[in-house]
Subunit: 465 residues, 2 copies
């Protein structure tokens, strides 16, 4: 940019608040049309102005063969920055298409944290082939990053940090930064280290810019600083940034030396991923499902459905115990799903609250007993309300106050059990070190199905036959 | 801070990677104990070092009367910054306790965006009483913020922005910043405006710090800038920050003038809230459920359960049509929940993927047809697999290959319907402008229940009787 007048540079037109940001579907259709008429120049022109994140979205939303054509057409122009934005399923496809040589060339243009993100998903043989095609220094950085546990701060961090000795003044710091050529592109805080390279404080850039040159760094630095150990899980890092509204945090090795920095842009992805993972786990699906191949998707959904088949068979076995009773009063078969279904829904409400509250540390040992007690009472109240409603509906429908009374009693029992199971199951799984999002909903709905059928049919067998 | 040597300031002890950040339950127990022995000095000492976010968590996790005691004990020492961190339910409780005069004093110490966040949840009469107790200038800012739609960029933004005219050099800018006393506490970008106060570019602070004084701002500014209109929905703002990895974005009014800035720390909360809202909506619960009063929680869960009762009754009515058939073959009553339950689970898997993909703009008109087609095929494949499994189990259990064949056929039908309903329902709701997270799961499970019972019992009525 060499313009100097205020009127020359024109920013983008303001966005339409209704339409919003991101890739427009018009671009997707235009690219599809250009591919259909085999006009590579038009494809190139259409994607040339897209932000890497939007180009990644475009590639994802195309059909598989169109995707490959676009990558082929872009060829050497394909920006390395697109790779980290791609969904893992689609990225794998494109990496296969690129081959190790071209991929190694692309990777070497990325920041270390982005390269690791792309690299860690590859299978081992592919990793080896790429490593041997990379420049030595870069290879070492990648290998070291990969030596940290998956989803740890070590994988997430960027090695390029602005570190300044504690004896410097602000003026010296600015002179150093103006001369240095190995600083990261974007950073938000300066880290001050002692002679052992331990971080002792930080200075937000906005403060540095407002301070006069002769001021010593230690006079204006913040010492109330959250330091992240290399091995910390990324979920905990995300919690840290969210809880304290941070934009960057220093990462230290076991000896307490500053080895990298994590910035908020990397954490924003983790924050939404972690909440998203919980939604997906609760429903028994894989995160990357949208772009997985048909057979992979079918396979990935299979185990959850098998578990649910087993629990459904268990519930059916409970019904089977009362075959004789049902044979005598068929109305029971008509009504029995209501009790089970209401219990399942009430239980799911409670467990959803519990799973998220545990994930964001709102629900801990300290308030668990109060939470269980409250949900139990909610179960009692809603159980009584729906007992009356369902009892009356049943009475009117089948003209039998006795069946109405029985379904009402079973409803109270099952809603109370739902409140208990919806709280105790996730809390118990958490205490056992199992992720409550993965297993809670199967357990809870099994309990409410079994208890629902058993209470309703059992009471009927006792009092109606 | 007036120390100058590198050894004097001691940072916090490094965190235990296993234990993590945030409020420790030990502190909660210690505060509860201190309250039990009525030792206000100990309570004050225990909370004095807590970050505002952790103090908010502490207040939330206490029982209601303990909460009020802590607020009472802290009295004037209660930091205003705690308020925005509190869950809305608990905040309301504490605001009632504080009363308008004390609240107004606290609010006036907050940044405009945080004050608005606390203020907007209050009821109107309370708002009026607080407004009249606030200093005039501050009142005007609050009133203007409240004039923007709820959950819009206008409510989210901070009015304090660093704006520089395009004719300046970096040196002039730094001199201005060193002299100014009305700059925001933390900022990440400098915004360059033309004479009409339209933003024409921005300079990240890290770039400003590395640039020499005589350089003109327009030479180093970025013009590829995303500008947020005042009326834009916060969900769209969150998307913008996440998609492009931003740390701040300028907000403009309808005439295109720069009126504020949104920073990433505000958006991080929105990002996790938006994903969280979807989990909660899918399960039919309110976000703030954990700390709501018992009766509020019971009431808030009631409507969802009523809708589910109605759908359960609808499903029962379908069973009722086949009462005679069930009377003749009671095994049908035992087996029928299996078909409905498997359809419900398969449908929930699909709709969860669809709801989240729509929310993050991965699923759009451009790839909807492909997605529906894929889910239909997944339904066919899994339907066939589970038809075989369930058919065999049924044959072995009841010794009847005929019932086995019927349940197998019903299973294929219901799994395919689940794939269709799981995609078409959320896509249809989205097109009608209804939030797919709110209504999808009721619709889909109603469809799979009704179709499941109807297919199984209907086929049995045709072929077995």
């Amino acid at each position: 940019m060499s313009t100097t007048g205020p009127e020359t540079p024109t920013p983008e037109a303001p966005v339409d608040p209704e339409e919003g940001f991101g890739l427009s579907t018009d671009v997707v259709y235009a690219v599809e049309d250009a591919l259909a008429v085999e006009d590579p120049a038009l494809v190139r022109a259409l994607v040339s102005d897209l932000h890497e994140a939007d180009l990644a979205d475009l590639i994802e939303s195309l059909a598989r063969d169109a995707r490959q054509s676009v990558v082929e057409i872009l060829g050497a122009e394909l920006e390395a920055d697109v790779l980290p934005y791609l969904d893992a399923g689609v990225r794998e496809e494109i990496i296969d298409q690129l081959g190790p040589q071209r991929l190694a060339r692309l990777l070497s243009r990325l920041d270390s944290d982005d390269a690791v993100q792309v690299f860690e998903d590859l299978d081992e043989e592919f990793q080896h082939r790429i490593l041997s095609a990379l420049p030595r220094a870069y290879r070492q950085i990648l290998e070291e990053s990969l030596s940290y546990p998956e989803e740890s701060a070590g994988r997430l961090m960027q090695r390029e940090v602005v570190v300044v000795p504690s004896a410097w003044t602000l003026g010296e710091t600015i002179d150093y930064m103006r001369a240095a050529d190995d600083l990261p592109d974007d950073f938000y805080d300066l880290y001050i280290v002692d002679p052992r390279h331990h971080p002792i404080g930080f200075i937000p850039l906005s403060r540095a810019l407002r301070t006069r040159r002769p001021v010593r760094l230690t006079e204006i630095m913040e010492t109330d600083m959250k330091v992240v150990p290399l091995a910390m899980d990324q979920e905990e890092v995300a919690y840290l940034f969210r809880q304290y509204g941070l934009v960057s945090a220093p990462v230290v090795d076991e000896a307490g030396r500053l080895v990298g920095v994590i910035t908020v842009d990397d954490v924003v992805d983790i924050i939404s991923e972690e909440a998203e993972e919980d939604i997906m786990k609760l429903a028994g699906v894989q995160e990357t499902d949208l772009y997985s191949a048909l057979l992979d998707t079918t396979k990935s959904r299979f185990p959850w459905l098998v578990v649910n088949l087993l629990t459904a068979i268990l519930a059916s076995a409970v019904i089977g115990v009362f075959e004789v009773t049902i044979g005598e009063i068929v109305a029971l078969a008509v009504l029995m799903p209501i009790v089970a279904s209401m219990g399942g829904n009430a239980g799911t409400q409670t467990l959803t609250i519990a799973v998220r509250a545990i994930a964001v540390k709102d629900l801990t040992e300290a308030n668990a007993a109060r939470f269980v007690g409250k949900e139990l009472l909610v179960g009692v109240f809603n159980g009584l309300l729906f007992a009356v409603l369902t009892g009356l509906v049943t009475w009117l429908w089948f003209g039998s106050p006795e069946i109405g009374a029985i379904i009402a009693a079973a409803m109270v029992v099952n809603m109370v059990v739902a409140g208990l199971a919806g709280t105790l199951v996730p809390l118990g799984l958490e205490r056992m070190g199992v992720d409550p999002a993965v297993a809670s909903s199967v357990f809870v709905t099994t309990v409410t199905d079994v208890v629902g059928f058993f209470a309703f049919l059992g009471l009927a067998a006792i009092f109606l036959i």
